[in-house]
């Protein structure tokens, strides 16, 4: 693909290009994957013996390799005994947690008996802060869990709405949360939001926060933001069993071949073990061992994430720069400048998101489908676009941002022409 000239002056020029670029998903770029090339090159040197001599080649350790659980504990700020180290996908853990809850039920409170399987409790629902992560919503939709949208603010979900719903409605069994650099708005949950989520009364005694800490390490500025320790906050509020935390190294080392963690109260970990050990004799502990020996701990991880940031931040800056140049004077258009994570949200005048994505698509630029960040894929205002600038090269991102801008402007012009 030819990149020059650097500016796309109008939609027709952009469309003639047929650029064949995909900004729909938050995939790491090849240069980011290269950062952990040593993990692949030196895979043969990691051996197969765990610290205690355990033969990682064989079956066993359903909760994961002890040192992989410890690494998770260090990085997530949770005791290793409360951490499960699993396969290559935290999405799997979230899906399975919901599937296990549907099929087996979950403990009611940290010390309480296991509640009835959610599938036997009639129609159940999850709260879905929106805009949110489309794959969370896809899990709910596939498993027949009703989704209830709640508004997302810059400091987290609208807590008045959340508290009122959770207090009243016992069919609400859970809630999706991405506390830091939330997908796709970049929201950072305020301490008070986390405290309220931990403390709020819930009509359902087996209510769970599905806490997807996907971008915990993924800063884009000098400020390494953190959010309040939700596991401690829940315990302090007398709701130790309320939260299931999920995280992974997918966007730290190798997107398709890293490891994922689940962290929770001891009661929840015991519940997970009972459900999961029927399913598997244990995860790939060799890959866990390779990761432990490569990453070692917090310092190595921080240094690696700084290199990710050096590759990613210019792409986010490029989008912001182009949007400021092309869209800053357009009424009803705004976007966020995320301080971490993988996405930019572009908010356009109502009724123009879908058409903008279509116009970009006709020019060969694939964006996340409009509405994807909302339950059932329906953005009631048709005004939100999710932009994933990580995978493409910096030049491509700059060009794509121009393309998005001219697609939006074309959509706005067309509707003005129809109105006029």
């Amino acid at each position: 693909m030819s990149i020059s000239p650097p500016n796309v002056l109008n939609y027709e020029r952009f469309r003639q290009w047929q650029m064949r670029l995909d900004l729909s998903r938050g995939k790491p770029a090849p240069e980011q994957l290269d950062l952990s090339q040593a993990l692949l090159d030196e895979a043969g040197q990691a051996g197969y013996r765990a610290r205690d001599g355990f033969d990682c080649r064989n079956y066993g350790l359903p909760l994961g390799l002890p040192e992989a659980r410890e690494l998770g504990g260090e990085l997530l700020g949770v005791p290793a005994a409360q951490v499960v180290a699993a396969g290559n996908s935290s999405l799997e853990l979230m899906h399975d947690a919901l599937a296990f809850a549907l099929l087996h039920g979950v403990p009611q409170g940290e010390e309480g008996p296991r509640g009835a399987p959610w599938r036997a409790q009639g129609e159940i629902a999850f709260l879905c802060p929106a805009p949110g992560y489309d794959r969370h919503f896809a899990i709910c939709e596939a498993l027949g869990v009703r989704m209830i949208s709640v508004p997302m603010h810059d400091d987290g979900p609208d807590m008045d709405a959340v508290e009122s719903l959770v207090r009243e409605d016992a069919s609400i069994k859970g809630m999706w949360c991405m506390p830091l650099y939330s997908n796709p708005t970049g929201a950072i949950y305020a301490d008070e939001v986390v405290r309220r989520l931990a403390a709020m009364p819930a009509a359902a005694p087996d209510f769970r926060l599905f806490w997807d800490d996907a971008y915990r390490f993924h800063h884009l500025t000098d400020t390494a933001h953190t959010t309040l320790d939700v596991i401690a906050a829940c315990a302090a509020a007398g709701h130790a069993g309320r939260v299931l935390m999920f995280a992974s190294l997918s966007k730290v080392t190798i997107a398709g071949g890293a490891l994922a963690w689940l962290a929770a109260s001891p009661g929840n970990v015991a519940w997970w073990q009972r459900c999961a050990s029927v399913r598997s004799i244990g995860p790939d502990k060799l890959n866990q061992l390779r990761h432990v020996r490569y990453l070692r701990g917090r310092a190595t991880l921080d240094a690696l994430m700084a290199r990710h940031r050096a590759l990613l931040a210019p792409k986010f800056a490029a989008v912001d720069e182009v949007f400021r140049e092309r869209l800053s004077n357009v009424p009803g258009v705004r976007w966020n400048v995320p301080q971490g994570g993988y996405f930019i949200s572009l908010y356009v005048p109502p009724g123009h998101a879908r058409r903008t994505v279509e116009l970009a698509g006709e020019a060969g630029l694939v964006l996340t489908p409009a509405g994807a960040a909302f339950p059932y894929g329906v953005d009631p205002q048709d005004s939100h676009l999710r932009i994933a600038p990580s995978f493409a090269s910096l030049d491509e991102v700059r060009l794509a941002a121009q393309g998005i801008a001219v697609s939006l402007l074309r959509s706005l012009e067309t509707s003005e022409a129809l109105a006029g």
Copy 2:
């Protein structure tokens, strides 16, 4: 542990030993895992580019790496398009297939609409040839699927019983099958059994055979037994969608870090993809790539399995030899001499299996719990023991076989003394 003297003359001697040995699970021995050491040593040389240039480090390919699906196709005798290459455990695939069926339903026939979720169809049941694999039964028990025992013969399940039940009872949604060297009896399904399973009328239009081809490559004699191609047999009988085949490389390369396959009709593979792609963005394709580049195809696999056999066959022979020496004249005692797989079944006089396991345990020898090979862990005759000689060394196996024999003899003596 001291191994000599080679013979355990009586139970008291055996108990004094306190041997601390575990023959409860079918784990490969370290020497077997060593056979694939090159897979670990040369992991750094497999690279990350698939044949078509795909970057295996990144997200994607929910059905697995194309060349890993092709390898599965070659080894399972199924077109690659009908093979899914997944993570490190076929048990996971079986669990998830049942969980997906419960939560989503499965297609009714190859071309038919998807049936209602099994969880919405009232109490459902699976046929369980017994003795069978305890982990199959654990999945059913955990997921609330009623188990119906059917007798297991040397040529497969009792087909008169199976046909009659499946024809009459629409709540029977599935059946566990291990066609070759079945766990734990070593049964080999006769061609006619496979044909009848494929052709039998089923009251449930969404009936499925869960076909666990775990020991397809695991011969212990010069005869490499095969079973009839069940996918072709089902298609020929007009029931293309009836069977889900599962297999893995866990006991070929690395028990905890290999890859698993699901093979089925195109309609079933499409169903699987719809369910599984909500759960994960793709398996660990780097590990799949390493396996493809290490194993290459049938010839390498056959050579590797011959080396496994050279390590395993003497252990099975040792058990047989000790049993012939110690138990051949004991009324009501028999055992099988398996032609493949990982287990020996020892049949003892009714009422003596549990006591024999207890006595062995008191002497430090852990056996599979009596009854484990039956639904709900209950052997109605209390007469079956499962012996897993793979993990221990040859000397240990010989000693353990002596220990089993003297434990059984002690159990028989005690009951005679009580009777007399």
